[in-house]
C-alpha cells in the first residue's frame, strides 16, 4: 500500500529503528509498502522509517528489481569523498556531505539469511550510506557541522542557500582558543610569584612595582577569559562534533582561572601592597 512519505521538518524519523525480527507477514507488508511508495513517487531508494515503520529495512532499486536490505551494517569503509545528494525527505534540495566510496556491507535477505555486499561505486555507496543513516536516526543535515545545520534549516525554509561542505567538520587537534589560556596562565604565574616576594628582603619600590603588575594583570586575565569564552563558543559552532568545545568545558576553564586570579589579587592587596 502506498504510504505517506515523511518530509522535513517532520521529526518523527528522528529515532533509531528497531531490528527486523521476523521475515513473515509483517515483513512482507512493510516491504510492499516501501516498494509501492517508491513506485508511486519514482524513488530509487527508501528506508522503512521514511514511511513511518520503525524497522531497519530499506529497499534499493537495482536495474528493475526492488532489493530489500534488512538490518544492514557497514562493516568496512574506505576512500572518503564529497558527495552531493538529494533526498525526498529534504524536498530534493542538494546537500553535500562526506561519504565513503568503498564499502563492505552485511545484511539479511528476504528469508532472514545473512548476506554480504561489496560496493565500490560512488553513487551506489552514497545511497547505501544515506539509507543506513536513516535507520540510525541520521539525516543528511545531521552529517553537517553544527553551524551549517542552521544554515541548511534556513535554506529549507527558502531563506538562503544550502551550505557548502567544509573540510573542518570535526574539532581541531589544536585550537586557537588555547592562546588565550596560555597568556592568562603566564600572567597568573607571575601574580603567584609576587605573593612570595615579601618573604625576601626586597625594597618597598620593587614591591610597589609588583603590586602594580598585579593590578594590571588581574583585569587582563579577566579580559582574556571573556575573550576565551566568546571565541571558544564561536569556534565550537564551526564543527560538527567537538567534545572539547562543550560549553561546560569552557565554563570550567574560565572559572578556574577567574577564581585563581581573584585569590591572587586579594592576597596581593594584603601581602604585596607596600602601602
Amino acid at each position: 500500500m502506498i504510504q505517506t512519505l515523511k518530509y522535513y521538518p517532520d521529526t518523527s524519523i528522528n529515532v533509531n529503528a528497531g531490528p527486523v525480527r521476523d521475515f513473515k507477514e509483517s515483513y512482507l507488508l512493510i516491504y510492499e509498502d516501501i516498494v509501492d511508495t517508491m513506485k508511486e513517487k519514482e524513488l530509487t531508494a527508501l528506508s522503512a522509517i521514511q514511511i513511518g515503520h520503525l524497522y531497519q529495512l530499506m529497499v534499493i532499486k537495482e536495474d528493475k528489481e526492488y532489493v530489500a536490505y534488512a538490518n544492514p551494517r557497514i562493516i568496512t569503509q574506505k576512500n572518503i569523498f564529497d558527495s552531493t545528494e538529494i533526498c525526498s525527505y529534504f524536498h530534493n534540495h542538494p546537500i553535500t556531505v562526506k561519504r565513503y566510496q568503498t564499502l563492505s556491507i552485511i545484511y539479511e535477505d528476504e528469508h532472514g539469511n545473512m548476506q554480504t555486499k561489496k560496493v565500490d561505486n560512488k553513487e551506489e555507496a552514497s545511497t547505501f550510506q544515506r539509507m543506513i543513516d536513516y535507520l540510525f536516526n541520521t539525516t543528511l543535515i545531521d552529517r553537517l557541522p553544527l553551524h551549517q545545520k542552521e544554515q541548511a534549516a534556513r535554506a529549507m525554509a527558502g531563506k538562503g542557500d544550502m551550505p557548502i561542505l567544509e573540510e573542518n567538520a570535526f574539532c581541531p587537534p589544536e585550537s586557537k582558543k588555547v592562546y588565550f589560556v596560555s597568556v592568562a596562565d603566564k600572567l597568573l604565574f607571575f601574580m603567584l610569584v609576587s605573593l612570595f616576594l615579601p618573604l625576601f628582603n626586597i625594597s618597598k619600590e620593587t614591591l610597589s612595582s609588583w603590586f602594580t603588575y598585579d593590578k594590571v594583570a588581574f583585569p587582563m586575565v579577566i579580559a582574556l577569559m571573556v575573550g576565551f569564552f566568546i571565541f571558544a563558543n564561536y569556534e565550537a559552532k564551526k564543527f560538527k562534533q567537538c567534545t572539547s568545545c562543550q560549553v561546560g568545558n569552557n565554563i570550567g576553564v574560565v572559572l578556574k582561572r577567574v577564581i585563581f586570579a581573584l585569590v591572587c589579587i586579594v592576597s596581593a592587596y594584603f601581602i604585596v601592597n607596600p602601602n
Binding site: N14, V15, N16, A17, G18, P19, R21, D22, F23, K24, H53, L54, Y55, N71, R73, I74, I75, T76, S104, I105, I106, M114, T116, D133, F136, N137, T138, D142, R143, L146, K149, F170, C171, P173, A236, F239, K240, Q241, C242, T243, S244, Q246, V247, G248, N249, I251, G252, V253, L255, K256
Partner: protein, 490 residues
C-alpha cells in the same frame, strides 16, 4: 536461626550481603565467601589504567567492613554446591577453598539455608588463543583493566609506550574486545579515550596511532542496540555520535570483529563479512569474554548435577525462559524476574552470575558461521538493583516464611544509567552519560525500537565527567557502609 551464604563480594554480592545483614535480625547469619580480600569499584579501573588514580583509590579491605557490619567473611572461592546435602545429611551445603586469612588452600564445608550466587564472571582470557596464558589468566601480549591489579599493570605498560613516544618512536595502540562474544564494550570505550586524553596531556598524541577494535556490528551499539545522544542541542544516534567522536579524535575503527588469535605485537581477526585481517600493536588492551566461574553441583549421592543448575556457559539458571528459540520469538518476558533457581527455591543468582535467557543485541554470525555479537551487559546499576531485590526476597522468606512474595527486578522493566569517561580532568574531563529504558528491549510494549525513546538517550560533556567523579566517591562511600549508605541508590 537461618544462615544465608552469599558467594561473591562484587557489586551485586556486596549489595545483597549488606542489605540482607541490615534487614535480618541478629539471630540470623550472613556469610560472604569471596576469593578477594578487597572490594573494587571496577568502573574507576580505567583511571588506574592510565595512571590517574592509584589502586588504593579504587579498592578497600572487606574484612573490617564486614566485621563492623556483623557479616561472617570468608576469603575463599566457592568450589561446589550440594543442594541436597549428602548421604549423611539432607542439609544443603557448599564447599569452599580458602585464598587468604592464613588458611590458603584449606577447604571447608558450610551449610546454608539460603544461597545467593553472585560470583561474577570468570575472565575467560583463554577463549582467544594468546589472549590468556593458557592457565586462565591474562597472557603476556596484552593488558586488561578488568581488575585493579590488571589496571596497575596496564598503566605501567602504557607509561613505557608514552616514554618511547617521547623519544620519537611511533607507537601503535589497539583497544577493544578480545573475542567475538565479549560484553563490556563500554570499559574499552572509556579506556581508549582516556589514553587519547592522557596522550594529549603528555604531548605524545602525534606519535601514537590509536585504533579501536570491537565485536559491535555498528559503532555506538554499546551492547544495547544503540540509543540517542544529545549533542550540541541536536538529537543524534549513538552511531553517528560514536563515529564522530572517534573521527574527531583521529581514532579509526574495526567493527564486527572476532579476535581469534593474539601474538606478540599482532592480533588476527575475522569480520562479520567473513574477511580475515591482522592488526599490529605495541600496546593492546583487549577485554576478554566472560564465563561462569566453574562452580560444580552434586546431588546427595555425589553425582554431578552441574548441568541442571548451571547453563552451558557456566552461569546459574534462574526463573528465565531458556527455550525461547529463534530471535523472532524472543520476548521481554523471557528475562528473569526473581532470580530464583527453578529447582531449588532457596537458591538465587544475581549480577553477572545469573544465566541470561538470550542476547540483548541482535544475534549475528559471520558468513563463516562465527558468532560475533555483544553479550548482555549485567554489570553496574542492574547488578546492584538485582542484588538488592534478591536480598529482599531472601529476607522475606526468612522473616515471613516460605510463602512470602518474592521481589522482582526484571531487566526488561528496569532502566539503567551509565557514565562513560572519555578523559579525566576537573575542567578538561569529558564523559558520556547514558540512560536506557528498559535495559532489555520490549518489542511488544515499544514496537520497532523496543525501548521508550523518551528515556533512552545520552549526552556528552564536562558535566558527565563530574557525575562520574561524584559517583566514584559516592559508591565507594556506600560500599564502605558509612553513615547514610542505604540512602544512596544502586
Amino acid at each position: 536461626m537461618a544462615r544465608l551464604i552469599v558467594m561473591g563480594g562484587g557489586v551485586s554480592g556486596h549489595t545483597a550481603a549488606t542489605f540482607a545483614r541490615k534487614w535480618l535480625g541478629d539471630e540470623h547469619e550472613v556469610v560472604v565467601v569471596t576469593p578477594n580480600s578487597q572490594w573494587n569499584w571496577i568502573p574507576s579501573n580505567i583511571w588506574v589504567g592510565v595512571g590517574q588514580l592509584a589502586k588504593e583509590d579504587v579498592v578497600f579491605s572487606l574484612a573490617p567492613v564486614y566485621e563492623k557490619a556483623g557479616i561472617d567473611f570468608k576469603q575463599a572461592k566457592a568450589v561446589s554446591i550440594h543442594p541436597h546435602g549428602n548421604k549423611e545429611s539432607d542439609k544443603e551445603y557448599i564447599t569452599i577453598e580458602y585464598t587468604g586469612q592464613d588458611k590458603e588452600g584449606q577447604t571447608e564445608v558450610i551449610e546454608y539455608d539460603y544461597l545467593i550466587n553472585a560470583t561474577g564472571p570468570k575472565l575467560n582470557f583463554d577463549a582467544t588463543p594468546g589472549l590468556g596464558n593458557g592457565k586462565g589468566h591474562l597472557g603476556e601480549h596484552t593488558v586488561s583493566v578488568c581488575t585493579a591489579d590488571h589496571a596497575v599493570h596496564a598503566s605501567l605498560e602504557l607509561n613505557q609506550i608514552f616514554e618511547k613516544a617521547k623519544k620519537g618512536e611511533r607507537q601503535k595502540i589497539l583497544v577493544g574486545t578480545g573475542h567475538g562474544m565479549c560484553t563490556c564494550q563500554g570499559a574499552a570505550f572509556e579506556y581508549i579515550f582516556n589514553i587519547e586524553h592522557e596522550a594529549n596531556k603528555a604531548g605524545v598524541r602525534d606519535m601514537l596511532d590509536i585504533k579501536w577494535i570491537s565485536n559491535e556490528s555498528f559503532m555506538g551499539d554499546f551492547g544495547m542496540g544503540g540509543l540517542h545522544m544529545k549533542v550540541g542541542g541536536y538529537v543524534v544516534s549513538s552511531k553517528l555520535f560514536a563515529e564522530s567522536l572517534f573521527a574527531e579524535r583521529d581514532v579509526p575503527w574495526i567493527i564486527g570483529a572476532h579476535v581469534n588469535k593474539v601474538e606478540a605485537g599482532k592480533v588476527s581477526y575475522e569480520l562479520l563479512d567473513g574477511t580475515m585481517g591482522e592488526e599490529e600493536f605495541d600496546f593492546a588492551m583487549l577485554i576478554p569474554p566472560f564465563a561462569g566461574v566453574g562452580l560444580k553441583a552434586y546431588d546427595k549421592e555425589g553425582a554431578d548435577i552441574t548441568s541442571n543448575i548451571f547453563a552451558p556457559n557456566g552461569f546459574m539458571k534462574v526463573d528465565a525462559k531458556y527455550d525461547a528459540g529463534a530471535y523472532e520469538n524472543w520476548k521481554a518476558s523471557d528475562w528473569p524476574r526473581t532470580y530464583q533457581n527453578p529447582d531449588h527455591s532457596n537458591m538465587f543468582a544475581c549480577g553477572i552470575a545469573f544465566a541470561p535467557p538470550h542476547l540483548i543485541s541482535k544475534p549475528a554470525s559471520s558468513v563463516n558461521g562465527t558468532p560475533i555479537n555483544p553479550t548482555p551487559p549485567r554489570t553496574g546499576m542492574p547488578a546492584g538493583i538485582i542484588g538488592k531485590a534478591v536480598a529482599h526476597s531472601v529476607c522475606d522468606l526468612i522473616n515471613k516464611g516460605k510463602e512470602a512474595h518474592l521481589h522482582e527486578a526484571s531487566m526488561a522493566e528496569m532502566g539503567a544509567a551509565c557514565v562513560a569517561s572519555a578523559g579525566k580532568g576537573l575542567t578538561s574531563g569529558t564523559a558520556a552519560a547514558m540512560t536506557v529504558y528498559p535495559v532489555v528491549p520490549d518489542f511488544e510494549k515499544y514496537p520497532g525500537t523496543g525501548r521508550d525513546t523518551d528515556y533512552t538517550f545520552g549526552e556528552i560533556g564536562l558535566a558527565g565527567h563530574w557525575i562520574k567523579h561524584i559517583l566514584h566517591h559516592m559508591f565507594i562511600y556506600k560500599a564502605k557502609l558509612k553513615p547514610g549508605w542505604t540512602l544512596i541508590p544502586e
